[in-house]
Symmetry: C2
Subunit: 227 residues, 2 copies
Amino acid sequence: MFVRSAADASSPLHSLRELGLNTDSNPIISLNEFTYKKGSEVYGEKEPAEYVYQVKRGAVRSYKLLSDGRRQIGAFHLAGDIFGLENGSSHRFTTEAIVDTTVRLVRRQSLELVAQDDAMVARNLLSMTTSNLQHAEDHMLLLGRKTSLERVAAFLMEMDQRLTAAGIMALPMSRRDIADYLGLTLETVSRALSRLHELGILGFIGNNQRQIVLLDRPQLASLDLQN
Amino acid sequence: MFVRSAADASSPLHSLRELGLNTDSNPIISLNEFTYKKGSEVYGEKEPAEYVYQVKRGAVRSYKLLSDGRRQIGAFHLAGDIFGLENGSSHRFTTEAIVDTTVRLVRRQSLELVAQDDAMVARNLLSMTTSNLQHAEDHMLLLGRKTSLERVAAFLMEMDQRLTAAGIMALPMSRRDIADYLGLTLETVSRALSRLHELGILGFIGNNQRQIVLLDRPQLASLDLQN
DNA sequence: CGGGCACTTGATGCCCATCAATACGTGTGG
DNA sequence: CCACACGTATTGATGGGCATCAAGTGCCCG
């Protein structure tokens, strides 16, 4: 979802500006900020979709649950990403802050009003929804047809693109989160990471199991079969 | 994708009309028809997206392949459904006719031109893309977290809604297609259907293994855990 | 009418889930 | 500051669900 480089994330309003939400020219639209504590819910599935969010700092997971507790995470939202853009009256995922997270928020209604008149804004809403769709389509292939090692390799390459800074990838999410994103168990994720470590494809920084260095991106890429 | 009743399918232009593509008022846009033979490709992944399609008669599968041949079907397109709406310059799936299939087609460029000026058309493009996204999101949960029996039950309920006429569901697709849609093998799909048959939940019409009658929808629904 | 494709059903195997034990890191309170 | 508790991760042992391999049936289509 929203593939975005570190550079993008560092220019904070990038994505909302893309939507045409320039506060100078659109005084109607207010960009409020809010901070969620680690683990707290931003919104629940089926709640009315009142706001659209952009991650300023932190990370968010959005997921669906089965009645017996099985969880599928559909996406992780990192700095710069926009989420909660449902384009329907209610949210289709539950979202939670993975770590302490600050978001900007915009009333959905404001967005729709602007999109009504501004073709450019409408176009950008469509292109963001299409990005989300493309991510979901690729993820269906992963969930339906890839092995555990391929899934973990694909995950690392996705995160490498989205949050590596200075060669170090600092994952905000736990093994369980990764597992629920990849349709695996946390043990299987852990074993796959250990295996990649043994193979010399990745290393851990110090004793922090969430700080990872990719030592051999080509070999990692070769483990995940091309689309 | 595009949940649609038999009644909808019988009013042929329903969906393209929704898009605002009324040929009377938009003489620019021509609605051509074309028929694809069973098994033939409509377009390939990464080909430039020149047309948008609507199924008039027949059925279409859209899928992605891994380099070693593993296949994931992302959606089935039945009578009335619109597909190929990529909103980018190239297609993200390969699509093939499952049976002999007639489609209407519209130049993508025409659509974009109209959407430029007509907010209503733009709105409908967005809402169709959102429908596709919602289907993909639900399918991620199925692929990542449901058991084989749950998947097959969910498949039957989806198809029941979309193509049951006179109480009979006539599936156009093979067991292999169903398997590649559900992230299973064809044997597992077959066993699940046999099991549902034994349980008295479904019956087959005559000796045609693709004509199914649902005998106990409530029980079928109970096998697939609520979202 | 014959050949082959689609489907079912059975036997076996393997990958990943589950169950379990241990280690480690972090935060807390005495 | 250290003991302790708890959450997170790793690693090992075992099991199960689905994949794979295989055989047989029936039907569609040439």
